[in-house]
Amino acid sequence: MSLFWIPLLPMIGTLVPLLSERWGRSICALCTAIAPAIALTMVLAYMPSVLAGQPIQQSIEWIPLIGLELSFHLDGLGLLFSLLILGIGLLIILYARYYLSDQDSMGRFYAYLILFMAAMLGIVLSNNLIQLWAYWELTSISSFLLIGFWSHSSNARKGARMALTVTGAGGLALLAGLLMIGNIVGSYDLHTVLNSGDLIRENPLYPVILVLVLLGAFTKSAQFPFHFWLPHAMAAPTPVSAYLHSATMVKAGIFLLARFYPILAGTEQWFLMVSLTGLATLLLGAYIALFKHDLKGLLAYSTISHLGLITLLLGMDSRLAAVAAIFHVVNHAIFKASLFMAAGIIDHESGSRDMRKLNGLWKYMPYTATLAMVAAASMAGVPLFNGFLSKEMFFTETLDQSALGSLSWMIPVLATIGAMFAVAYSIRFIHDVFFNGEPINLPRTPHEPPRYMKVPVEILVGLCLLVGIFPQFMMGDLLTSASSAVLGGAVPTYSLSIWHGFNLPFVMSLIAMGGGLLIYHNRRSLFRFQAQFPETDAKLVFDDTIKLVIEKAAHFNGWLENGSLQRYMFWMMFMVLALITVPIMNLNTTEGIRPETPLNNVMSAGAALLCICALATVIWHRKRVIALLMLSVVGLIVSISFAIFSAPDLALTQLLVEVATIILLLLALFLLPQRTPKESSPSRIMRDLSISAVIGGVVGTISYAIMTKPLVSISDFFLDNSKTGGGGTNVVNVILVDFRGFDTMGEITVLGIAALGIYKLLAQMHIAMPTSDIDGRSWARDKHPMMLEVISQGLLPLALLVSAFIFLRGHNLPGGGFIAGLITSLALIQQYVAHGVNWMKVRLKVDYQWLIGSGLFIALATGAGSWLFDRPFLTSWFDYFTLPIIGKFELASALLFDLGVYLTVIGATLLILANLGKITTGERPKQTEYE
């Protein structure tokens, strides 16, 4: 059998309760227990060889690039923790069977529990740092689900979120720490890492790593000042608390400290940070525990305190202290689990956990009371119980400290004070609940729990006694083996026996017990003293902090993204300026060596007009028709300048596009509100004006610099190969349909999509038509003047002829599909304008969508046609033929492609313009009803 199965079985077992839930609660619990039980058996089977000093290890490569291996090993430390996790886990399964009510989904509960168990096992068995971290996070996640199990309660939700946030933050710190360790060592393999202690401790980054790893451990183990999440995790069902806060979740942090003891411990920083944190936690937890009226609250703070104790032990500069720490891990797990279970029984059978109401339960549940008393005695450190042994070891070690220099005497004193409070709260747990008069206003009459609910407590309490009385027999080998794993080799000699003689530690124990009794006796005055402090609920503080952060963040978002397009545009323009002005300052001269084209009057006049009209467009932008007229002048001059610079194709296209655009804009403006409000304040106008001016200046400079410098480019190739390679003398057209036909295909696709998009938009819009113009005049009654009708009708065939001519000659002379398409469209638009939609509807039965589709299809098919000849897409073909009468003529595949362009342009232009126009009539574009 492979070691992999130990963590893997519970992982698979997560599904078991979900599937077996339907067969009833007992069967569900039984089935759930199978996987952990097998895993436990396997661990036990490996036990002899591990105890004999032969750890077991297995790994499979997983993601080598990040150093992640699926790698497990079972050494003494892992063995000890696995036994705790699986053993107590099984007891919890049994206990929860009786604890959960019918309303709780048992399958879900068990699934979360088993998931958590699997994650914990993964942590303690991991032999790879990244894998260890993955399991670490998995415990945070599954504990979130467990704590939030009663999700209807606000406390559960908040407690779960708090636990996840704190441990999640610690997890991220841990990840950082582990990655740094991996980087230093050059491997994420735990074995290699553990053998590189000196390498890590000598690295300058060691303090950073230490802090990061400690953050991970301390958040998980609820060490001061991160302890606050733990008491609120008590919102979980009690079996969860019993599991998470005794044997598992919080012990993960301790495990981490123990695991990395060989590489991180042994330095001044470690001792100071770990021991002081532990000491503070120990005292704080013990003190607060006394004042908690909630049973589980008391146990929660006692847990914090005991975790502090273990941490303190690990932080002491002594190897024996580490052994004591491991021993206390076990002892604490045993007595704390049983106490939580007892508290759960009390809660379950009496309906309350408030110690001010719970009194005198001895009468009602003597058996449970006895069990609880034994466990509490162990918690208090009474001789003959397991808690006493590790506490004695702890006292012994505190006496041996020098980490605080001349102040080191404080450690044993403070330890004793902590122990006093531990005794006091243990007494309170017993005395307040089981004696101290009669119960007050309990919702139920308390009684003993079902038989099997007590079994897990009995087993644990039995262990308390057995370990307490026969420590060497019960724990000896296991402890030695685990300690040797922590210490990385030899274990110092120590004796596990009940009696070490009448020595100082024993005196400390006696003082603690006497002191504890005294504190408990005077508890009322202490309570009064404590009542003077305003009670702060960590949950509220935490929640308010988070709420404040969220509020601030939301406020900031609202401020930054205020929904103003002007602001977004401003930032874009700002970025443009920032990006291009910095380099352009390094440009020494814009003057190139190209001779300047001489300036003549016509050109200067045109340029001046261009500038004036552009400015006028902006100035009169609120008077839309005028602005539009000005804009059209700009377009016209651009067309003319194309013509002047020998680009007749461009000039023609620009001219036609201008016409189409102006019609489009007129139609659009007709539907938009007639008045534009003044939107910009004077200062805003100044800002925008400055930005525009600077951008204009920079762009002008760049353009000038580029135009005046000579350029070696690929353009010459096109000039040379147009006729020979593309079969046309109009280079522009050959570029469009051949050299870069793929671009053209893309561009007509864009045109087609644009048309579809606009139609889609129009079809779902409901725009009210203005009934009159801006000055309140109604529209002309004669919508289609006779003159226009007659002239445009006559022009149509002519225009079509011209477009056919332009189309056919395109390959060799200015023209082509695009221009021809625009001419045809405009001729048809003119008919729409002159005759109206209804007149056109009867006569022109062409679906523009089909035109687009077929145009694109023809272009595509032409391109793909070259595949038949085993050539790449869009490879052109041309040849010359001679026919009688017509003479020599050329046939080219490019012509077919151009036909596609032609059709698409017509389809797209008309789909847009005709439908925009239709909005003004009764023939509004409608959503096509789909079947």
Binding site: I63, E137, S154, E561, A705, G757, F873
Partner: protein, 503 residues
């Protein structure tokens, strides 16, 4: 057909989109759905074949048989093929989801969707910068039209911003191309790299403005700060399948920055070497920070997811600027992860919102939903993935990026912003989850349960996340090789010329 494989991811969706404008597919939603599914399956096959062939050798396809640098080339190296596959998988998910009924809320959904895929694939495959512009236009114009799908005030408002900003962006794109052509004299990307290394000082200054303007254009597309303003509103108001598909849109910008600013004007670009790097650094960090603040302050799941997209943008670009390009392999892995998971999360947000009725996806108490177990589990898994927690893919991606940054000069910055944003994600998503699924009032809502098709769509996308972990060795190896190939082995213009001649 195999020699034409490279052009098929562009032509296949285009062909079907065009057919949908014509009878017999025109105006019948059922036939269009079937046709779309069929196309997606074909595209999936093509993408997989492309991955296989391009892994052996980078494929160069000279359109029209014109020899580069004069004609347009398509180049399918590992990276481009990977992006095509990613797009296709995401597209499959979005399409499945849409076919549950969202596609019938407006016209032309299917053709526009396919046109959109055509544009995205084209942008990934092209080896020509003007052709890149054309494909940008195709994907943009299709996205404008898809954004308004379903109608409504929010969508119209979002699209006004989106369209306006992008139109200005497109103008600057053209201007930048003008500058670059005016200085480098070529449009072929490999040839540009070649020409850039030979530029003289004064010309280099001019070219630099072009290069940086391109950063503006791609940054706008990628939603890099302060050009990100369009993103939140656009993504959160688009209909679910569209938002899911848009998850790849920012990646087109990032991809272009990787290619153009990381490689063409990267280390070996002579005087233009690493022109954009000093700008990308702070912009990426700011993006991450603003995304994180946005994430914390989100009031609904869709806005939250949009902010997650923002965070992923920052993360990806931070990974890119790690010196020596050692973070690129990690970035590519993270790109796969984040695209699919964000897509799934957009779909999930819609399902949850619809089932919650009036409360929609806002974080307020509401009535219990119809399918709490199913949607809760899916949300939980998606949340784990985006936070970067095991066992989902986010953690591998994050670990890779952190490892790459380990020991470099920018480590402190990269580590702290990425880790803090992860913590913010934990806080935000645990708040989201507890509010959406646990904070309930009243009886079960009477909204309809999500359809099978929608669930399959989300599961499909989400399942990729654990698969990326399970097959982590293969995937990381692929992305790593792809990154190195992109940095060092993009076919030179000489190699391309040979390819052009042989055809």
């Amino acid at each position: 057909m195999m020699q034409h494989l490279v052009v098929l991811p562009i032509l296949a969706p285009m062909l079907m989109a065009v057919m949908m404008l014509l009878p017999p597919l025109q105006n019948t939603i059922y036939r269009q759905r079937i046709a779309s599914f069929f196309t997606m399956l074909v595209m999936l096959g093509i993408a997989i074949l492309l991955i296989i062939t391009s892994s052996e050798q980078t494929q160069v396809y000279a359109l029209g048989g014109w020899q580069p640098p004069f004609g347009i080339v398509l180049v399918a190296d590992r990276l481009a093929s990977m992006m095509v596959l990613l797009t296709t998988v995401l597209g499959c998910g979005a399409l499945l989801y849409a076919s549950a009924g969202d596609d019938n809320l407006g016209m032309y959904f299917h053709p526009l969707f396919l046109f959109q895929l055509m544009g995205i694939n084209g942008a990934f495959l092209t080896g020509d910068i003007f052709n890149l512009f054309v494909f940008f236009e195709i994907l943009l114009i299709a996205s404008y039209a898809l954004l308004i799908h379903g109608g409504g005030k929010q969508k119209t408002l979002a699209s006004v911003h989106y369209v306006s900003l992008n139109l200005v962006g497109s103008s600057f794109f053209l201007f930048a191309l003008g500058i670059l052509y005016g200085t480098l004299g070529t449009l072929n990307i490999a040839d540009m790299a070649d020409a850039a290394s030979r530029l003289e000082a004064q010309e280099a200054v001019l070219a630099k403005t072009g290069v940086l303007l391109l950063l503006l254009v791609f940054g706008l597309k990628a939603a890099l700060l302060p050009l990100h303003f369009w993103l939140t509103k656009t993504y959160s108001s688009a209909s679910a399948p569209v938002a899911a598909l848009f998850a790849i849109m920012t990646k087109v910008g990032i991809y272009s920055i990787f290619r153009i600013h990381g490689v063409v004007f990267g280390e070996e670009a002579g005087l233009l070497a690493n022109t954009a790097l000093p700008w990308i650094w702070p912009m990426a960090i700011l993006t991450l920070i603003i995304g994180t603040i946005g994430l914390i302050g989100s009031s609904s799941l869709k806005v939250l997811t949009a902010n997650l997209v923002l965070i992923s943008v920052g993360t990806l670009l931070l990974a890119m600027v790690i010196p020596g390009g050692i973070g690129l392999g990690a970035a590519l892995y993270y790109m796969l992860h984040t695209t699919l998971v964000s897509g799934a999360l957009f779909l999930l947000a819609d399902m949850i919102g619809k089932q919650r009725g009036k409360a929609a996806d806002r974080f307020v108490p509401a009535r219990p939903i119809q399918q709490p177990g199913l949607l809760g589990t899916l949300f939980f898994l998606a949340a784990l993935a985006v936070i970067g927690m095991p066992p989902m893919s986010g953690f591998v991606g994050k670990v890779m990026i952190l490892q790459a940054a380990n020991g470099t000069s920018g480590m402190i910055w990269i580590w702290s912003v990425i880790l803090i944003s992860s913590l913010a994600a934990i806080i935000a998503l645990s708040r989201a989850g507890t509010n959406l699924f646990w904070n309930l009032c009243g009886d079960k809502s009477d909204e309809l349960a999500s359809s099978q098709l929608q669930i399959i769509a989300v599961v499909l996308l989400l399942a990729c996340s654990p698969l990326l972990v399970i097959f982590g060795a293969q995937v990381t190896e692929f992305t790593d090789t792809a990154a190195r190939q992109m940095l060092h082995d993009y076919p030179t213009i000489k190699a391309m010329m040979n390819a052009g001649i042989t055809q």
